[in-house]
Symmetry: C2
Amino acid sequence: MSSVNNLGTLLARLTSMLNTRSPLIPCFHTLRTVPVSPKREWPKLFSSVNSTLPFSSAPNFDFKAYMLDKINTVNRALDAAVALREPRKLHEAMRYTLLAGGKRIRPVLCLAACSLVGGSEATAIPAACAVEMIHTMSLIHDDLPCMDNDDLRRGKPTSHKIFGEHVAVLAGDALLALAFEHVAASTEGAYAARVVRAIGELAKCIGAEGVMAGQVVDVNSEGLTLSMSDEVAVLERLEFIHVHKTAVVEGAVVMGAILGGGSDEEIERLRMFGRCIGLLGQVVDDVLDVTKSSEELGKTAKKDLVADKLTYPKVLGIHESKEFAHKLVHDANKMLAGFHPPKAAPLFALTNYIAYRQN
Amino acid sequence: MSSVNNLGTLLARLTSMLNTRSPLIPCFHTLRTVPVSPKREWPKLFSSVNSTLPFSSAPNFDFKAYMLDKINTVNRALDAAVALREPRKLHEAMRYTLLAGGKRIRPVLCLAACSLVGGSEATAIPAACAVEMIHTMSLIHDDLPCMDNDDLRRGKPTSHKIFGEHVAVLAGDALLALAFEHVAASTEGAYAARVVRAIGELAKCIGAEGVMAGQVVDVNSEGLTLSMSDEVAVLERLEFIHVHKTAVVEGAVVMGAILGGGSDEEIERLRMFGRCIGLLGQVVDDVLDVTKSSEELGKTAKKDLVADKLTYPKVLGIHESKEFAHKLVHDANKMLAGFHPPKAAPLFALTNYIAYRQN
């Protein structure tokens, strides 16, 4: 299928069609009812992290210092949560990918959401570690030869390349289990009922209603032959894949809001915010995959092209994908309206960071 | 290494050595301090389920009717817990192995433990489903080509043979996540703090302190060359593998006891009971693997031999393995002493069922 050049026409068709809830897109279609923003010069949006951040309601917020501080907190907590014990090979494999770097966007989102609704950051630290653990396990399994068969992750050889496939499978499983154990055993300062609710969200975002659903449809859509006549079906499928594959972003924000004592209305608003920026991150990933090198990304570039994956650049074209990303930034910021602006500054800044990042 | 013929001498050496807690055997060595029972005629113990059950303090207890009733309850609950929704392929794969039969020993143990400590059985049904889900996921991943590479499970082709490796990996992951979601979202009649504690146990028994630890040491012990000089080290390693690979049995009993409102003393006594019968089940499995056909087992027979696995028959010989199983039945029954005998009847009977089963 050729790229869809008339994005406005297509989105209008989608919007009217999506008034009926699609079984493949449980809630997300509401976002589509927001009109597409006027065109902007995209290269400016894809500039460095240090550039002036649009949309932020706290322009003097020092995002870099904030991120360094939070990433430091998260890395220390992760290191302590996965001690190097027996069996060493299993724990070495768990630590290898978990502590290999990574942007730590999900755990920081969890901490920021907790603080935003008035909670103590310390309450959300086990949950923040848990979302990074489940994200990492999804990467380890996604890289397996029977999945994406990838050699490079977080700038290093993938887990199965170092430890063998069987250990990579088990290390992923163990990280998934540890995530739940860690939240259950180490969360302090929240009512038990809120911990149970947060655990439910953690499970939902990684399971058959979250990442695993996205992965299975993703793999089964490789090499899909597209025709102009099924544009809407193709975009629906693409959105299903991306919203589900990035469900941990939504889960991270929602867990933070629950554990921080947020009201149901705050939690649901932050859920939509998380869903927006999760999809945003995936759209940006799609674009980076075709515009950057492996060295710049720290993982194998052009792999979506090689695997003939269903991606936004493939369906919409690069320019229109950037346009869609911009709309998602706009929608995400709308969800933050109503929160105390200085407290929301980290989430505004994180949204822009996700849109601007270069790898 | 030849089989160890003098079990008494070897266990005496182990018992004195294990007074110092081995890092590989966190708690289990205490069981070894119970002297080996006098020899019994083993073929009688390995007779059918319908035979008179020794050790049971309620000889008129109708075990068959009890099991049929509980298995029916569990199967209905599992069917409802994993509805066939989108993406269909993922849910079909999750249901395929989960609903393919199986003895349902773990979920029934969970229900029985809950009732034993005075809880309502309904409170433990989501936990009972959860332990079957995580057990099934461990089987799906264990059967993968990069692990045991097995073709037959529960009398049917293995998951990856039907759905492909990538779906089998994802279905296992999704079942693991669903187990936690199900307990968190569906448990009723227990304090939230107990639900959190039960979720912690669920995670621990399947993760790096449970099944995954056993699996990784198991795979790494294939083809291990043994010599008489390291008998104790070999038995320690074997016990580590088996106790950890069967940790879901312990987890099932402990979760039932927690959710049923058991005291800490009751929970810990039932933990040791669960650990005994978990190891018992694995020793019996080892023996059945070398003495039964694939048709009789409903899974590939002699696979431990083919993979040159570390097993009790390999290390101790078949007769001594049966002797060790008998000792474990004895130890398990000791842990049930002190509970109200009629209420403990299902657990006495389940212990014997595990020892007597033919597949």
